[in-house]
Symmetry: C2
Subunit: 213 residues, 2 copies
């Protein structure tokens, strides 16, 4: 298996965690997002969406982190990354999408670059923007995790899964600016700390990747 990623990409970070949780070996190729390598002709011929991650598992190129993780879970069912019951699966997917649809894409590097390069925003505006979307998203996630009775050691029961895989890289992002106050999210942070005790999460962190700067 070959994973196209970038050490700082949250979406690639998610896939690294999933592969580690499944105990799978994988080769990494590095697409330097700050050099815009994801828009090179060579990479666009691999992933026309011009984004990381992409995964090759002996077949066509797989793209989009959530889609890749569902694929990994369907083809290597143990340990499962989603619960067995449809309502539980919907809950976990919703928590994952609360990060992967409603926080991360708005705070993505290319969006921040557009704000600064096209619209001329300076750092204080970028910081306001960045923190705003995390705050809105974490508020809803915290409320769900703290109150619906389904979280255990992890976001859903006592085993790590798709929701945790999305949550942990987002907490890394939330630490980008010291101005972001993580204290209103004790359940998120408790689950984050639990995840970080696991080797699968530890080995996936940005600073431990071969392309880390």
């Amino acid at each position: 298996m070959k994973l196209y990623g970038y050490f700082r990409s949250s979406a690639a970070f998610r896939v690294r965690i999933a592969l580690n949780l499944k105990g799978l070996d994988y080769e990494q190729a590095f697409i330097h997002l700050r050099k815009n390598d994801q828009r090179s002709g060579e990479y666009l011929s691999i992933n026309p969406q011009g984004l990381v991650p992409a995964l090759i598992d002996g077949g066509p190129v797989l793209t989009q982190s959530l889609s890749i993780i569902e694929y990994i879970d369907e083809t290597r069912p143990k340990p499962p990354l989603l619960p067995a019951d449809p309502v539980g699966r919907a809950r976990v997917r919703s928590l994952a999408e609360a990060v992967a649809c409603d926080i991360h894409p708005i705070d993505n590097l290319r969006v921040l670059q557009f704000l600064s390069r096209q619209f001329g925003h300076k750092e204080p505006d970028i910081e306001t923007w960045f923190n705003h979307w995390i705050e809105l998203g974490f508020e809803g996630i915290e409320k769900t995790l703290a109150s619906d009775g389904k979280a255990g050691k992890f976001s859903h029961g006592d085993a790590p899964g798709l929701a945790d895989i999305c949550l942990v890289p987002q907490v890394f992002n939330a630490r980008r600016y010291p101005s972001f106050d993580l204290r209103p999210y004790p359940t998120i942070m408790r689950i984050f700390d639990e995840c970080m005790k696991l080797d699968a999460f530890q080995r996936a962190v940005p600073e431990k990747q071969p392309d880390a700067e």
Copy 2:
């Protein structure tokens, strides 16, 4: 079943299409996004994420459109909205997420409002922003649909599914500004036209909803 939505919400539009494709009856509750009803205490007690759609199907509240659609597909398997093979499923989910993660959230009403109200951007900037993210996203989707040999009448073969469910509302959005040129996306538009021949898509369009203005 009860669907909390808003006629103009792309994400609610997706769920309406999915419910219609499955031939399911549902009651609608309307959350007025321009009046910010999604952030009212009453609605936040239903969906702590403060977003539409939300679906109640005799159990806990289900949230996030993709998660809801996967739930509908798992609990009512016919007709399927995803292919049976893991690689096909990954392709369809990736196309869906190319819209639901990488276009729609960045162009969402709340983001446009933040640009105008917090950052003071005027209409020409909003239009530039709005069109930019659709163009980037559609470029990748068009390339995949036109070149990987998996599209048929619809995005994946000859039956409508999750990718089409996400694509159609995004084409509606792309028509918001006449400045957006849809001609570079002939495959997207061919599939869009095919979808719009179906009653399930027709009945789901914003202007046919009871809360349409």
